[in-house]
């Protein structure tokens, strides 16, 4: 493949959003007639890279953004998705980005309908749509409303649309997440046909099996940086997972492995929280999990393995449809996060900006928010008490700037995370579920948060610690539960586990040598 001109060459792309460096000097290239996988955990920068390529983000718009994109050797700069499409880059986005209120035919042809007498020629439009659907072996009425079809069909319609653009580059962002096995096979057949026609296909999926099945080469991103480009047949699955998840280096070693002895588990002590065959259709398979008082349980697994889904069920956001949740030996049914909080279960979301902090409020208001909600709005916390709370948490968690009146939007990611933690600590939960509390924050803040988790457990709080970073899960947890493909595949006491043994379980899903 070398010697050929890449159809896409992106060099040193940097894109920043306020407070986040989404892409940092990332380079990426694709050759005609190859399937190229783009891999990385959530927040690694995959979507940003794709949006830079498809013209949704303009690289030259921000002062800190830089880099250049070459298309078949010549420099391009797209002002919008329409321009990128005209240049032959078409995209099927992760969420089906079609219009449920219009017909299937229109969704395929919108913006380039054949015209006759100055108006849209609906017959020709339908005929063309029918041809394209036929190419995908999709037997549906092109006149039917798109919204009346299943997500899988909608996904295939999106692909039919993308194919019709006579694409040189076809980007498929998680195209298989809503497809069943047969549909995936069908999709792969189409991909191979397109590949044979010389189309370069960018494939994004968190199903590693599919990545290995379909792609020729792959590029790994982590935390907005390029890890490397590899030939799929030359990289072992284990190495790949390691490259996606990454290893924290020496800086964190200062914090030695300090696992709190679990308060129970050996004897017949009643667990603080026990899930018995707790599951939710279309979300996670039934899970058995126990958390004892004062222990840190790590929850590991790749993106999309069901970690967050489990946390959402445990904390009353989503309702389970099978099994039961037992708190202190009595079954409970959480209807809302509020009822979970009343039982002492608090959830700190992985989605810090959207589901965590309120960006436009001050540090003080963010910290007291959950406590105030817990007390009810008719029992306001006095100004004095709010100040005390804010100041004490700012000191305890070392929040910078140490100013209760600072607007949270302007804090760094790590400090925003600390504010969020402070909010949950203020309500003194018995079980704190932390979902990716250290993602996307700098190493110093990361170490502080890890230290805090240990301290909390020593003081009797239970923590369910969700993270894609295995080092920190190993460092903090007394027990590690591992999820893969939306089921809990292992629940192991953390005494002689290593990153490699965890990786083996995550990659292959079976307890092998490390079983216990």
């Amino acid at each position: 493949m070398n010697g050929q001109v890449p159809v896409v060459e992106m060099t040193n792309i940097s894109i920043s959003f306020p407070g986040v460096k989404a892409l940092d000097e990332v380079s990426f290239r694709m050759f005609p007639g190859e399937v190229h996988s783009l891999l990385g955990e959530n927040g690694a920068g995959k979507s940003t890279l794709i949006k830079a390529l498809t013209g949704v983000y303009q690289i030259d718009s921000g002062p800190t953004d830089s880099g250049e994109i070459l298309l078949a050797g010549s420099r391009v700069s797209f002002a919008g998705p329409a321009q990128a499409q005209n240049a032959g880059i078409s995209t099927v986005y992760q969420e089906v980005n079609l219009l449920g209120n219009l017909s299937v035919a229109e969704n395929i042809m919108l913006g380039r309908e054949p015209r006759r007498f100055g108006g849209i020629d609906w017959r020709a439009t339908r005929r063309r749509a029918l041809e394209l659907l036929g190419g995908l072996h999709l037997d549906i009425d092109p006149g039917s409303l798109l919204g009346s079809h299943s997500l899988a069909v909608q996904q295939l319609v999106a692909i039919a649309r993308a194919i019709d653009v006579h694409a040189k580059v076809l980007i498929l962002d998680e195209p298989t997440s809503s497809l069943d096995a047969d549909e995936v096979a069908e999709l792969f057949r189409v991909i191979r046909e397109l590949k044979a026609e010389g189309v370069a296909i960018l494939f994004v999926s968190h199903f590693l099996d599919q990545v290995y099945e379909i792609s020729d080469r792959l590029t790994v991103l982590r935390n907005g940086k390029l890890v490397g480009e590899y030939r799929t047949d030359e990289i072992l699955r284990l190495d790949l997972v390691q490259k996606m998840i990454g290893k924290e280096l020496a800086i964190l070693d200062a914090l030695e492995r300090r696992i709190v002895e679990p308060g129970g588990g050996e004897g017949d002590e009643v667990p603080l929280l026990a899930a018995r065959a707790l599951g939710r259709k279309g979300s996670i398979a039934p899970v058995d999990l126990r958390v004892y008082t004062g222990e840190v349980v790590g929850l590991a697994g790749l993106l999309g393995s069901g970690r967050t889904e489990l946390a959402r069920i445990l904390s009353g956001i989503d309702r389970p449809d099978s099994g039961e949740l037992v708190i202190d030996g009595t079954p409970h049914r959480f209807r809302t996060p509020r009822s979970a909080l009343a039982r002492g279960v608090a959830y700190s979301s992985e989605n810090r900006r959207a589901e965590g902090i309120v960006e436009d409020l001050t540090v003080r208001d963010n910290i007291v928010l959950a406590l105030q909600a817990d007390r009810g709005w008719f029992h306001p916390i006095s100004r004095k008490r709010r100040d005390e709370l804010a100041v004490s948490y700012i000191q305890a968690l070392n929040i910078r700037p140490a100013n209760p009146d600072a607007i949270v939007r302007n804090l760094s990611g790590g400090n925003q995370q600390k504010v969020l933690l402070a909010r949950w600590l203020a309500v003194a939960p018995r079980l704190l579920i932390l979902d990716e509390p250290t993602r996307g924050i700098d190493v110093g803040a990361k170490a502080e948060i890890q230290k805090l988790v240990v301290n909390l457990a020593e003081n009797g709080m239970s923590v369910l610690f969700i993270s894609a970073e295995l080092e920190e899960v190993l460092r903090l947890s007394s027990r590690i539960a591992i999820m893969r493909d939306r089921r809990l595949v292992a629940d192991i006491v953390n005494d002689d586990l290593t990153v490699d043994s965890l990786l083996a379980i995550i990659a292959d899903g079976e307890l092998t040598a490390v079983a216990r």
Binding site: N97, N101, I120, L145, G147, S148
Partner: protein, 338 residues
């Protein structure tokens, strides 16, 4: 949706299936319900009053509501994108004032009418740009335009100005005979032309399909490479133009300009569009549905006029009730399909 059985009543059942599927579709359902409603209202009127279901009554429905049809057409474009235009009533009043005062000072009708259409289109353009460039809620932006237009009416004159310009008066009063006692005005012809053009634009042009696309999902439309920004601005220009034209037709109807005229008409237009089956959240609806909506409102008004003893405010009460029913109906139909 379709049931396949190989016995005799297949055809009947399939027909029933198709009919019931059309009625419960978020696309056609509300419009079909409106059509049934219009027929029902007419039947009620016909059973109570002699001569209710007659050519002149039906034609008068169009004559009396020509301006509202035009307003509703413009409003349909806006609501299809998921927006709203509260300024149409005030812009209509402003048009009547501009027409009356300019004609009074001796301008020719052939200059005044195009001028009004240009001015109201420009006002629509400004509103559209405000919404697009500054990301202002359509509700707020058009509310501001409403106050601006209404205020300008008073700047022109506080009193009613009557129109005596001979060309204008003859345009207004010419009746086109359809044989017998039946005749229509030029306004009706213009209104129906507007409906025809709007129908063609919405269904046979990319602009029209982009309007639907924006209502279905602005983000998706943008990612599909459609000219979302341009279209979003353009629907307010169309609504502005329609308001101006409706103002001219209204002036034909009243032959005067008055600052306080058409207060609340924007709400009639919105009501007609919603009753006509256009979803307030955008994406579903037909311009012909909006015409049906106007006719339903007009028929209710006619019944109340025929009744004689009822206060005209009963029209509003009926419209209010109908609106409520239709909004709930839309919710149910769209919720079922999600």
């Amino acid at each position: 949706m379709s049931i396949d059985t190989s016995s005799a009543p297949v055809a009947g059942r399939r027909l029933f299936g198709r009919v019931s599927s059309a009625f419960t579709s978020p696309k056609y359902g509300p419009v079909l319900v409106t059509l049934v409603l219009l027929i029902a209202v007419f039947a009620i009127g016909g059973s109570r009053y002699r001569g209710f279901v007659s050519g002149p009554v039906i034609l008068n429905l169009f004559v009396d509501n020509a301006y509202l049809i035009v307003l509703a057409v413009g409003m349909t474009f806006v609501i299809l994108t998921g927006g709203i235009d509260l300024s149409v009533g005030a812009v209509l009043a402003l048009s009547t004032m501009i027409a009356a005062s300019l004609l009074q000072s001796g301008w020719s009708a052939s200059v005044v009418i195009p001028l009004i259409l240009v001015l109201t289109s420009v006002l629509g353009l400004l509103v559209g740009l405000m919404i697009h460039v500054f990301k202002i809620q359509p509700f707020i932006a058009t509310l501001a335009a409403m106050f601006l237009a209404r205020g300008l009416c008073y700047v022109i004159s506080k009193d009613s100005i009557s129109i005596t310009d001979p060309v204008f008066v003859s345009l207004a009063q010419t009746r086109i005979s359809l044989g017998g006692r039946m005749s229509i005005t030029a306004s009706v012809v213009i209104a129906l032309l507007v409906v025809l053009v709007a129908f063609l634009v919405l269904h046979y042009s990319r602009l029209g399909r982009t309007v639907y696309a924006i209502g279905g999902g602005e983000q998706s439309g943008m990612l599909m490479g459609l000219p979302v920004a341009r279209t979003k601005v353009l629907v307010y220009v169309i609504s502005g133009f329609c308001s101006g034209l409706a103002g001219v037709l209204f002036t034909f109807y009243t032959l005067s300009g008055y600052s306080l005229t058409a207060v609340g008409t924007e709400l009639d237009a919105i009501a007609a569009v919603v009753i006509g089956g256009t979803l307030l959240t955008g994406g579903y609806g037909f311009v012909l549905g909006s015409v049906l909506g106007v006719l339903v409102l007009g028929t209710i008004q006619t019944i109340i006029t025929f009744e004689g003893t009822l206060s005209s405010w009963w029209t509003r009460i009926f419209i209010g009730g109908l609106l409520l029913v239709f909004i709930v109906l839309q919710k149910v139909l769209t919720a079922r399909r999600r």
